[in-house]
Symmetry: C5
């Protein structure tokens, strides 16, 4: 999975029927320092993420697992929201995660 920030939403009246009623977000990747980088791309939301939140998303077939067995034609889906104040590469953070299992 990769880290990304939600930067917008996508409005599409004409789309695959299995995408009807789902939130389509525009996201950008995050680099090691937590800054957005690269081109924006489209990801389907499965956890209720909103614009401005930092998330991680799965690509490929795994991108449709949250709606399994519905054949949603998504190749990138947001599967988790980063907790605020916990960007993973910060020094103070990596030293205190031993309790997460």
């Amino acid at each position: 999975m990769k880290l990304a920030r939600v930067v917008g939403t996508v409005v599409s009246t004409v789309k695959d029927e299995n995408m009807q009623g789902k939130k389509i977000l525009l996201v950008r990747a995050l680099d090691a320092s937590g800054q957005v980088t690269g081109e924006p791309f489209v990801a389907l939301d499965s956890v209720g993420a909103g614009v401005g939140e930092d998330v991680f998303y799965a690509r490929g077939k795994e991108g449709s697992f949250p709606w399994h067995p519905q054949p949603v034609p998504s190749d990138a889906s947001i599967v988790g929201i980063l907790d605020p104040f916990n960007f993973p590469t910060r020094e103070s953070h990596t030293g205190t995660e031993g309790t997460q299992k």
Copy 2:
């Protein structure tokens, strides 16, 4: 999924039988400002997109979901058309999408 613009169509008499009768389009990726970028590639159309329209497409196995369970050998398929005047990264757009669910 990624944003792209339809830039042409592909004419192929000799092709996999599961592609017979389907519209094969040539598309190019869109960057954050809505400009085409990178090399054109081939995508199968599942929503009726035409040359000049902005779309988003799914890659990988998901690219064949719109025709499921027919084993269409497509690894990139257009699954939605962007509504006109709604390019997602524009300021005026991202602020008003709260109603899309």
Copy 3:
């Protein structure tokens, strides 16, 4: 799918048994002007393509669909041959494809 030109064939005596008897081709990607670009890679042929022909190929699981349900371990397979004199990004071409459906 992506556009490519067949540039050679691959000779392999020792290979996966599901690849026995299939034509293994070496191809290179085509850019917007129809020129080869990037490194050559290996693709399995499912439509009878030959050296010098322009084709489009599917990657990933879709690359094994033409031989389904045989579990051919191919991640890139040629699924269509471009018609001669019809390179998709040429001006004279994109304007006359309305009849392809």
Copy 4:
């Protein structure tokens, strides 16, 4: 699979239910000399890896095989830990691996 080093952990309260109770790690790719390179990304741990260890991970659908048939939406999972003092590209190493089968 690719070589990577575990550089941190990811804290996410809101995530896909199939990720609950699993360790989510942040890793960075390793280059030929064993140095970290590129942006960090998120991988699910299936072998008990910890921060500082060198591992190799599988991407794509294979990334969810360790939990099969649970539909874990992971596209990158750590499937092995490199033995210490055995970085594969070191001269003294490649010459002595004939016994591994």
Copy 5:
């Protein structure tokens, strides 16, 4: 599939149980002239390749096909060995492969 050269082996005591007893190799991609290029990565061997041999490998789900239906979490597997003296992009080679079918 892509062309690569086997450059080493990987020693991993702690790994996914479906990888136990399989040879794990380190490979590097080959460019058009047959030289290694890019970072080394990890591939599972299914055909008995050894260090120094030129091979082609399949990525993604296809990478686990040689062990099907065992759910081996490999996303890159060597599926064929190039015959010696037959690098595909050499002039003298591409002209004499018409008999391969």
